[in-house]
């Protein structure tokens, strides 16, 4: 049996397929096709939650995404935990484990409910008023306690094991909502040949047709017509039907975000499916057929379990075969609730009363209710209710105040305060709203480009109108997308008409708190208090009272709140305006937004061609931008300093092997290539001969260092430029910007060849021996192959371009081969180098080696505020060239100041102390705080070759201070004394380099 409150027949559930589930540890049975809320109600469970602030017992209000109360935590095991799911949307599966939230020790006995007794002390804005003193307590005491007491579900504690994907999609017409209007719109558009996506948030398309058995279309009942319409639609190849898919965001230019819940409804999701999919849809036209959401009514004690939207009760009855009570009262200001009462009565439920605030309701449904003898109480309102964990009585009194209230015994009270068209997407698209004083609801004031609206979301609640408007919207959308569309035949409809509703924003009678926002525990009095305290803007009232916030974003609360504020201000509803609708319409998981961008795929991880070889040698890697580079190669028992020391000694005394493949490489060709270099580098390039290389410094137009690297002349009109690893893309974009925007007359083509070449450096006195041993046809002798030149030839049987350049101050050759052979080259050099003790070294040793020589690293010695003069690189600046980028910027008087920070060497008095990079330099460590800082450390290492620590730094007027002692103050340590030196620590004459 699937619950005592289940009807023996009826509904779209499968009684042959029962499902076991548990709620708060208790086992229940539901049916295939149920939502968790439906299954709980079928088992007579109305109390499902405690409210956010006061921990009041709460039940199920709605049957859809608007649910403010029934938030549950689902735990599927293995880290699949989801807080704050609406039980009204959770599809039941076998073995589902749900728990209620925000209660202790149990839902029926919640100790924190004492907060409810303190309610007079906790009005709107009480945080701001109560927790002001002492000031320091907010962060340490108040906020943690309030957060612990209030709140919703628990955050997942383990990594999410599920996969999420994205899907880009393009269509002519996106139809949001597959109720009657949406189905007709899709049908009309699809027949024109347009590409149509039809998305509906529910498991089954159909919308109202799923829950309203009385409707007849073309002589069929709603379900039969729906089946036929869907059959026809889904046979069309140009239609994509997306069930369980919520359009949650409308961005600029009809770009919408959709969340598809692919496997959330499955007990055992197949491993090949993603859990959820984020659709990013670029639509030419969007048809909104999003329906409407029923409003609750605001009256004292309107929040007890068992008080439910009338339409929700009808859905539970007709779609799920569940009675929400045995003796049900109805409270309404419009006709739609009568349909619920009639359906319930037909199912054998006793209707205790239909309380209608209208003095003389006279619509077709009202007449039918009267005809079957339902107790209609016109001109009356509910003034209060009773029942701790479930309503057991409602009090009814004449609205005009001219009579006493009388109790109505009931186990459910169904309320309807009218209908709000669902216009969240329209509003996100910047569509304005208009308050309609016939419907007492906001409707679209106009359409935005690319938008059509149809049916209840346009304020047309009658079925015939929804079908017609849907068809018209589909035709209009297809036509606007460039298709010839014809209005399809509309089904003949039998559906009861509605008479006019009456506005009833707040029952003016009775005592007790009247709840406006159930999720945030905001009462009508809270709103009035905010007005008394001077809040006027609805946006301020919202933030002060929290009405309309939370996971439901006030879907059932907002318009009631607006109207109550309007009444308090003595204005019309429209004059008050409404708060801004922002994406998402309903909550979206972080997983869906992240999609595949997590773990290994969080960002591209770029590996060099010889990565596997470095890995095999035990390299420790570091991330340099997206590149993963070998940092050092520890041998057993070595720490980083030992490994780096060994690598540095080898590179100077024997031979080192280094992977330089990540350096940016740009091929420059054209008659003006040398001229381009003359303009983008500070030094002169015209006279560089073919076969030679030159170091270049690139500046921004403000004179600050942008990048550096060695460029080789391959031919009269062809150069091979290298850039820093991190600067590769930036420099290419920089060259293109100048070529395309400023100097279109220059004839130069730039092509990135970073990844065409793998570059392996062989460095040290035995470099020649290793390359010769590997086999080469290039004469490596000093005379034939001087420093700063290159040769084409073969190395280890591979076609190679060998540059004799050095970033270490040693004899060094950088061997470039087509990148597919990078691993083979590394391996060949490694093998050939064994007799010579070849030692692979990583980026850390490279940093130390270059610092020993005082070579800068852009981004380490520079930070966007450093000029070549600051770096002592005056020799890099051509005096002869009429212009280059940065020349005028550098001429600014401020950049010639003698007290600018200049690059110097720093030697600690204690040679074993390695300074911290970024540490500040002062003249007098005894001065009081804040000290006058005159510079900072840019690089600091232990140098095995020098047997001591070394550092580079930028110091005010640094070159004048050479020989002085400065101090590096350290937290909780004595200040460190350093001597200012020239920034070159080793072989200043470059004897080794040119050897």
């Amino acid at each position: 049996m699937s619950g005592a409150w289940r009807l023996p027949r009826g509904g779209r559930v499968d009684r042959a397929r029962p499902l076991r589930f548990s709620f708060d540890g208790k086992a229940y049975t539901g049916l295939t096709g149920d939502t968790l809320a439906a299954a709980l109600l079928a088992n007579g469970v109305h109390l499902v939650a405690r409210s956010f602030k006061y921990h009041r017992p709460r039940g199920i209000l709605a049957a859809g995404c608007e649910e403010p109360n029934a938030l549950v935590q689902l735990d599927r095991g293995g880290g699949r935990e989801d807080p704050n799911l609406r039980a009204t949307q959770v599809e039941l599966f076998d073995g589902l484990v749900a728990t209620s939230q925000n209660r202790w020790p149990s839902l029926s006995f919640d100790l924190a409910a004492t907060a409810d007794r303190l309610a007079p002390l906790l009005p709107a804005g009480f945080y701001y008023k109560t927790f002001m003193w002492p000031a320091g307590w907010w962060r340490r005491v108040y906020e943690p306690r309030i957060r612990a007491a209030a709140g919703l579900g628990r955050s997942p504690s383990r990594p999410d094991p599920d996969r999420y994907l994205h899907r880009h999609a393009h269509c002519d017409v996106l139809v949001v909502g597959a109720g009657p209007a949406g189905l007709m719109a899709a049908a009309a558009a699809v027949m024109s040949g347009a590409r149509v996506i039809l998305a509906d948030e529910q498991a089954e398309p159909g919308g109202a047709l799923l829950a309203e058995p009385g409707l007849r279309l073309d002589g069929m009942d709603g379900a039969a017509w729906l089946a036929a319409a869907l059959g026809e639609l889904t046979a069309q190849p140009n239609l994509t039907l997306l069930p369980r898919t919520t359009a949650f965001a409308w961005h600029d230019h009809t770009y919408l975000g959709l969340l598809e819940r692919v496997t959330d409804h499955l007990a055992e999701p197949p491993p090949h499916l993603p859990r959820q999919r984020l659709w990013r849809v670029r639509a030419r036209q969007v048809v909104l057929a999003t329906g409407a959401i029923e409003r609750p009514l605001v009256f004292p004690d309107n929040d007890r379990p068992g008080i439910m939207l009338a339409s929700a009760a009808r859905t539970y009855l007709n779609r799920y075969g569940v009675r929400v009570g045995a003796r049900v009262a109805v409270f309404t200001n419009n006709d739609s609730a009568y349909a619920t009462a009639l359906d319930l009565a037909a199912a054998g439920v006793t209707i205790a009363a239909i309380v209608d605030c209208r003095a003389d309701p006279g619509g077709e449904l009202v007449q039918r209710a009267r005809a079957v003898g339902l107790p209609v109480r016109p001109g009356a309102v509910v003034t209060g209710t009773q029942g701790r964990l479930r309503i057991n009585q409602a009090f009814v009194a004449p609205l005009d105040g001219g009579g006493r209230s009388s109790p109505v015994v009931c186990d459910a009270l169904l309320v309807s305060g009218g209908w709000n068209p669902t216009l969240h997407l329209h509003s996100q698209a910047r569509g304005r709203l208009r308050f309609d004083e016939k419907l007492w609801a906001y409707v679209p004031a106009e359409l935005v480009p690319g938008e059509q609206v149809a049916g209840a979301c346009a304020g047309s609640f009658a079925l015939a109108d929804a079908l017609r408007e849907g068809a018209q919207a589909g035709v209009a959308a297809a036509a606007a997308a460039g298709y010839r569309a014809e209005l399809p035949a509309l089904p003949a409809v039998e559906a009861p008409s509605w008479s006019e509703p009456a506005p009833l924003w707040r029952v003016p009678l009775g005592r007790g708190r009247a709840w406006v926002d159930l999720q945030n525990d905001v009462t009508a009095k809270d709103l009035e208090l905010a007005l008394r305290e001077g809040f006027r803007s609805i946006e301020h009232v919202k933030r002060y009272t929290t009405t309309g916030m939370g996971t439901d974003q006030g879907k059932t609360a907002n318009v009631n709140a607006l109207a109550i504020v309007a009444a308090g201000l003595g204005q019309g509803v429209e004059a008050v305006g409404h708060t801004t609708f922002r994406p998402p319409y309903t909550p979206v998981t972080f997983g869906a937004f992240a999609g595949a961008s997590r773990e290994l795929q969080l960002d591209p991880l770029r590996r060099t061609p010889s990565h596997a070889h470095a890995e095999a040698l035990g390299a420790v890697f570091e991330d340099v931008g997206q590149w993963r580079r070998a940092r050092y190669f520890p041998q057993p028992g070595e720490d980083m300093q030992a490994a780096v020391g060994r690598e540095c000694r080898a590179a100077r005394q024997g031979v080192g092997l280094f992977d330089a493949s990540t350096l940016g490489k740009i091929d420059l060709q054209g008659a003006d290539a040398a001229e381009l270099l003359n303009r983008v580098y500070t030094n002169a390039w015209a006279k560089l001969t073919v076969g030679r290389c030159r170091y270049g410094l690139m500046l921004r137009d403000d004179g600050m260092v942008l990048d550096d690297g060695v460029t080789a002349r391959l031919g009269p009109d062809r150069f091979h430029m290298t850039t820093t690893t991190g600067g590769a893309a930036r420099v290419l974009a920089w060259l293109e910007e100048w070529l395309q925007c400023e100097w279109p007359q220059l004839r130069v083509f730039c092509t990135s060849v970073t990844e065409q070449w793998a570059a392996i450096g062989v460095c040290g006195p035995k470099a020649r021996d290793v390359i010769r041993a590997a086999g080469t046809d290039i004469d490596l002798s000093r005379e034939a192959f001087p420093h700063m030149s290159f040769r084409d030839g073969s190395v280890a049987g591979l076609p190679a371009r060998v540059f004799r350049i050095s970033f270490t101050g040693e004899i060094a050759f950088e061997i470039n081969v087509p990148s597919g052979y990078g691993g083979a080259l590394w391996e060949a050099l490694w093998q050939a180098g064994q007799p010579f003790g070849i030692t692979p070294y990583g980026t850390e040793a490279m940093h130390v080696l270059r610092a020993e020589k005082g070579y800068i690293i852009v981004g380490q010695e520079t930070d966007g505020t450093v000029t070549p003069l600051d770096l002592g690189m005056d020799w890099m600046i051509s005096k002869a060239k009429p212009d280059f980028i940065g020349k005028r910027g550098m001429a600014r008087p401020d950049l010639a100041r003698a007290d600018r920070k200049q690059l110097v060497g720093l030697l600690t008095r204690d040679p074993t102390v390695v300074l911290e990079e970024g540490a500040q330099l002062v003249e007098d460590p005894a001065q009081s705080l804040p000290m006058r800082m005159i510079g900072h450390v840019t690089s600091a290492y232990h140098s095995a070759n020098l047997g001591r620590s070394i550092a580079l730094g930028l110091v005010q007027g640094g070159r004048e201070r050479i020989g002085q002692t400065l101090w590096v103050p350290m937290p909780a340590q004595p200040a460190i004394a350093v001597e200012v030196t020239r920034p070159v620590f080793l072989d200043p004459e470059n004897r080794r380099l040119n050897g």
């Binding site: 880009h168 090949h272 993603p274 595949a596 960002d603 591209p604 083509f749 990844e755 990148s819």
Partner: protein, 183 residues
Amino acid sequence: MPHSPTASLPAIAGAGVTAVEAPLWGKLVLRLDGEARRRTEAALHIAIPERPLTSTEAQVGVCLWLGPDEWLLVTAVDMAGEVASRLDAALAGTHHAVVDVSHRTLAFRLAGPKVRDALAAGCPLDLHPSAFPPGTVARTLLGKVGITLHLRRDGSTFDLYVDRSFADYAWRHLELAARELNG
């Protein structure tokens, strides 16, 4: 054998979509002004596509439009060097660049009835045949990396060009999407 960065990655094979890393093809970036373009056509007997986002095919290979003065010529790998030399000779005196990027850029060949869905997991372009007809070429994104996408003349095979160090990311991205499509 040149190294393949996808050799050790999970296969993409099934009823929905298949992908293979193509053997190394010869690839030349051509940057040509008007005169250079005419001489290239004469030297290689191939039409250099002028219309954006299109491609041509001839004996020498496939020519993909990449920009107003930029093309990718895809040839057999052992022909690339020879074609480049021939072009450099034929184009002497014109404004041009012929750059061998055979190793820079790798190619995946993708096919299968769900190939567009697999690509749409990361590519924001409209790949429907009405918007992306056979022969179309586009430089676009797959997730976070740049790719060049070419729908071959058969209308069902895509060649996806991606730079070497991004091939691993691109392959894994496709593989994640293909799991579902290959069921």
